[in-house]
């Protein structure tokens, strides 16, 4: 802990207190929404209007501005979920548990969007809605992992217990995802190789790359907005007997 500067530690300490979290996120929310809207507008303008059409795929490639960031988000959110779940499991921090479970439906939605857009993109390219391509298959299995997390949480009545179950499952999933990914990749190497992560020599043109990155950041903000809204609702539900919630309700009357 000594490596982390003091103000950061204090910030997280304050954030771990439910009333602070609740009021802080309330003030934060409009800013997140404005940034999200600006980034999305810029990204879509760049991607759909400024960027040139692909010499092979024509305009249909433009779906990558949704597909690729969604696919990134699907993995990213699973990682966040596992880390938050792990923190909740070890240090018994209620907010970490809530962040973990609030992330799951958002992550599942992004996974679903990545699957649907991938299949839409595949139709003109492969002539069929679904091919057992490695990345789509991995994404499909990831969706099952998300649904398992959501299903398990719903099946356990006591929500603190459910949070611990979900955290264990998410951690198991995080260990398994690379193995699953590798096995599926090994099983089938049909898709075009990764094009964007080769940072030293990007094989996609800058005018296409910039909107893509803008969209990727805008999706991160969308995730923050959606996850925090869910977390706030979940927090109110769990803390409905706490004094700060009662005070807040009586003030608003």
């Amino acid at each position: 802990m000594f490596l982390i500067p003091d103000p950061v530690v204090r910030f997280f300490h304050r954030m771990a207190s439910p009333p602070h979290f609740y009021s802080f996120t309330e003030r934060l929310m409009p800013w997140l929404v404005v940034i999200f809207l600006l980034l999305t507008a810029a990204g879509l303008y760049g991607g759909l209007y400024l960027a040139p059409a692909d010499y092979q795929q024509g305009d249909s490639y433009r779906i990558i501005y949704i597909h690729v960031p969604s696919a990134w988000m699907s993995l990213f959110i699973y990682m966040v979920m596992a880390v938050a779940g792990g923190i909740g499991l070890v240090w018994r921090i209620k907010l970490a548990e809530i962040v973990a479970i609030s992330s799951a439906p958002v992550g599942a939605s992004f996974t679903f969007i990545a699957l649907v857009t991938g299949s839409l993109w595949g139709k003109p390219m492969w002539g069929t809605w679904w091919v057992w391509d490695a990345r789509l298959t991995s994404e499909l299995i990831l969706l099952f992992l998300y649904l398992g997390v959501i299903g398990l949480y719903g099946a356990i009545d006591d929500k603190r217990t459910a949070s611990r179950a979900v955290a264990i499952l998410a951690l198991v999933g995080v260990v398994n995802i690379p193995i699953i990914h590798y096995s599926v990749e090994w099983w089938n190497t049909l898709h075009q190789g990764p094009t964007v992560t080769k940072m030293d020599k990007p094989s996609i043109h800058v005018s296409m790359l910039i909107p893509l990155l803008l969209m990727a950041i805008s999706f991160k903000f969308y995730y923050l907005i959606a996850m925090l809204q869910r977390a706030r609702t979940e927090l109110l539900l769990r803390e409905r007997n706490a004094q700060w919630v009662k005070n807040m309700i009586s003030e608003s009357k």
Partner: protein, 224 residues
């Protein structure tokens, strides 16, 4: 009170219990044979077709049989309080849990190996691939028990955990299915399968070391 004594006592007790209950051994085995019998009936009995999909059929059936047998792993211990007593023991729960998983595999996983040659004959697999089929089952089915134990430990406290269990466990079975199925496929075609076998060995070792920890944690959560 040595740990190894406790470890082997748990294995011995579970084996004795399985022998006295019998159906616990027989049911997954019958299920395995039955599912494999259904495929030729469902898709037709052309020898070349069956031969081509035999490795896949055997492995998918093994996956399903392993999953269906999982419920018996902790169910009776959970219902009669033996699980509470085990978790109260001063011994590390993950080690005792590993003993239970090993006993469970000996009772539900190992018998699959014994009938697999028969089924391979049913499906017309070439004889030279039989060794590899047995090897993949020997390496793969313990992984199914180990990973499945995580799922069943998470759901043993639920009244209707069956459906959710398959959702939790089957996606995690994918790597074993891919490497084991592919190894058998390749072996049928007379190709080398060292890479797949090595990967299966590493997956097994990883599962042996890592899986008991979340199983123990999940059981502690389930009994609360």
């Amino acid at each position: 009170m040595s740990l190894s004594h406790a470890f082997f006592a748990v294995i011995r007790r579970d084996l004795v219990l399985a022998l006295r209950r019998r159906s616990e051994i027989a049911n997954p085995l019958l299920f395995f044979i039955l599912v494999i019998t259904l495929f030729p009936l469902g898709i037709g009995a052309q020898p070349h077709l069956l031969q081509a999909i035999a490795p896949g059929i055997i492995w998918v059936s093994a996956l399903l049989a392993a999953m269906l047998s999982l419920d018996s792993l902790f169910r009776s211990d959970f219902d009669d309080g033996s699980l509470e007593q085990m978790l109260l023991s001063p011994h590390p729960a993950s080690v005792l849990v590993l003993a239970k998983i090993i006993a469970h595999w000996l009772v539900t996983g190992l018998p699959l190996l014994i009938v697999a040659p028969l089924l391979a004959v049913f499906l017309g697999m070439p004889n030279h691939s039989l060794g590899i089929l047995l090897l993949t089952l020997l390496l793969g089915t313990p992984v199914l028990s180990l990973i499945g134990a995580i799922g069943v430990a998470l759901t043993v406290g639920l009244r209707r955990g069956g459906m959710i269990l398959s959702l939790l466990v089957l996606p995690l079975y994918v790597p074993v299915l891919i490497f084991a199925g592919n190894a058998v496929q390749m072996a049928s075609g007379g190709l080398p399968v060292d890479a797949q076998i090595n990967i299966l060995i590493s997956i097994l070792l990883m599962a042996l070391v890592l899986a008991p920890l979340p199983v123990a944690a999940a059981l502690k959560m389930s009994i609360n």
